[in-house]
């Protein structure tokens, strides 16, 4: 390669490196702020600010869902394996909201440690399979209440992804 | 076939609206990607043809200018039959081009 082109190559690489470094630093600095995400354990331990808009997520604790018969009010508990927090929401829950699977809630933490959600979204994992296959897995591995195929590994990966939000 | 009937296929067990609108967007994007090269080709072909027409006109006009300039000297003009012929040819070509342009518009 001749000298001029070599120089241009170096300039291009420097440009890439410079931009990459700038963006990496920005992302690192903003990591906490981008998400405003707090885990159930953090909320339970009082590490999350009260009254501030934030996101919280976890697996819906089986058996914790309580629906009000008169209105669309519902409450349930979410867990990340290390801690639990109660979520209160009024509205229609997404189709994929099932006990034992993941949710992401947007809202505010109240004084009494309850997460008042304005929006509840269902989170699903990256597994795709026909119903018969899931049934076969469930028959082979009796559910612990957390309805996940290959329950162990995906529950763990779910928890991991929910945990390292900060 | 995982659907019992055509209506079942369309309904997608309640998710029909979502599935079919997604596929409709895909159809639009594919159509755009197939149509835009066709349109671009037409534009380029027209551009090249137009360019060629303009070049021909310039050549003809230049020819014409060259022959009339040298014709200031009357003697030279009638002494040199070729330049007179060129002038005629040039005029005729310009006329025919103009008529072509006229009909093209």
């Amino acid at each position: 390669m001749n000298a001029v082109r070599k120089q241009r190559l170096i300039l291009v690489l420097l440009l890439l490196a410079g931009v990459g470094l700038a963006v990496a630093l920005m992302l690192f600095a903003l990591r906490e702020n981008i998400n405003h995400y707090f885990s159930p354990a953090q909320m339970a331990a009082g590490e999350a600010p009260v009254g501030q808009r934030m996101r919280g997520g976890g697996l819906v604790v089986p058996g914790s869902v309580e629906r009000d018969t008169e209105s669309l009010k519902v409450s349930f508990r979410i867990s990340d394996g290390a801690g639990e927090v109660t979520v209160r929401y009024e509205g229609i829950l997404p189709d994929l909201f099932v006990e034992g699977s993941g949710v992401v809630a947007l809202g505010k933490l109240s004084n009494d440690g309850v997460f008042e959600a304005s929006e509840v979204l269902a989170k699903h994992d990256e597994n795709y399979m026909p119903p018969e296959v899931q049934k076969a897995i469930d028959d082979a591995h009796p559910k612990s209440g957390y309805s996940k195929p290959a329950a162990q590994t995906t529950a763990q990966s779910e928890l991991r992804s929910l945990q390292d939000g900060s | 076939m995982y659907f019992d009937s055509w209506s079942g296929f369309l309904a997608m067990e309640g998710h029909g609206l979502y599935v079919w609108s997604a596929y409709a967007v895909a159809a639009v994007v594919i159509a755009y990607n197939l149509i835009s090269p066709v349109m671009a080709k037409r534009q380029v072909v027209a551009q090249v043809r137009r360019q060629e027409r303009l070049v021909k006109r310039k050549v003809v006009v230049n020819d014409f200018k060259v022959t009339t300039d040298s014709g200031n000297d009357l003697e030279q003009r009638f002494a040199n039959p070729e330049s007179a012929q060129q002038k005629h040819r040039a005029e005729r070509q310009e006329e025919s081009l103009e008529s072509v342009e006229g009909s093209a518009q």
Binding site: L11, Y128 | H15, A22, A40, K41
Partner: protein, 244 residues
């Protein structure tokens, strides 16, 4: 190293001549693969245990998303070649790929939003994956707009190349967004080093769809590049003879 071959690759006329032969193959293969894959995915695969039939959007959404990112990577490569070797054909490729990539980015965002509503319960959320894909769309639009705004070919080439390279840092962010941050969008189903977390009867039509769409992109890019060559080389004899 024999650089002459590399430079011959950069000859627009050479590319025009050789690419003409590819067109029929590209047309047939992309059409067949896409049709087979989509019909297979829509009618001949079982529904998902969790999402039911809405998951069938995946056969459009995943190919579109992969392409939106891959095309940008190709543009960044063309940009580097433009800046370093000043090969005209590379700039032509950069110019024609942008609208195609942008259309697939729009397709990815639209199908993702449509899919999100019945599954997540929302058609949009500002999580890292969706936001970075939106930024990708802005980059595409920016490159297209920049090209139109600068009227000299050389200056436009340089500007678009630089913008493409600056924006390429977004691509790894898109890819790793689901790992680095807590996102609503789930992690990768198709992974490079692990087994895919998808049943085979669903996986095969998906892989076919991805291949079909890549071939479709190649077809459209080659078509547009050939036209761009004719346009930029319109003062040469071979183009004049070809057109008339």
């Amino acid at each position: 190293m024999n650089w002459t071959f590399f430079h011959k690759l950069g000859s627009p006329k050479w590319f025009y001549d050789i690419s003409g032969k590819w067109l029929p193959w590209l047309q047939v293969s992309s059409l067949v693969l896409i049709l087979v894959a989509l019909v297979w995915g829509l009618a001949f695969t079982p529904p998902d245990y969790l999402q039911g039939n809405s998951y069938r959007i995946i056969f459009i959404h995943v190919p579109a998303s992969f392409l939106a990112q891959a095309v940008y990577m190709m543009m960044a490569t063309a940009a580097a070649v433009t800046l370093i070797w000043k090969i005209k054909l590379a700039d032509m490729a950069l110019k024609v790929m942008a609208p195609i990539g942008a259309s697939f980015c729009i397709l990815s965002l639209a199908t993702g939003a449509i899919w999100g509503q019945p599954t997540w319960g929302t058609w949009w959320v500002w999580d890292a994956r969706l936001t970075s894909m939106l930024i990708l769309l802005f980059l595409y639009i920016g490159i297209i707009a920049l090209r139109g705004a600068i009227h000299t070919t050389e200056a436009a080439a340089k500007a678009c190349a630089i913008l493409s390279l600056v924006g390429v840092v977004n691509i790894p962010i898109i890819k790793f967004s689901v790992d680095w941050w807590n996102t609503l969008h789930q992690g990768a189903t198709l992974k490079l080093t692990e087994k895919p977390s998808m049943a085979p009867e669903m996986l095969w039509p998906l892989l076919l769809a991805i291949l079909g769409f890549y071939l479709f992109f190649t077809l459209v890019m080659v078509l547009r590049l050939r036209i761009e060559i004719l346009s930029r080389e319109r003062k040469t004899r071979w183009v004049k003879e070809l057109v008339s």
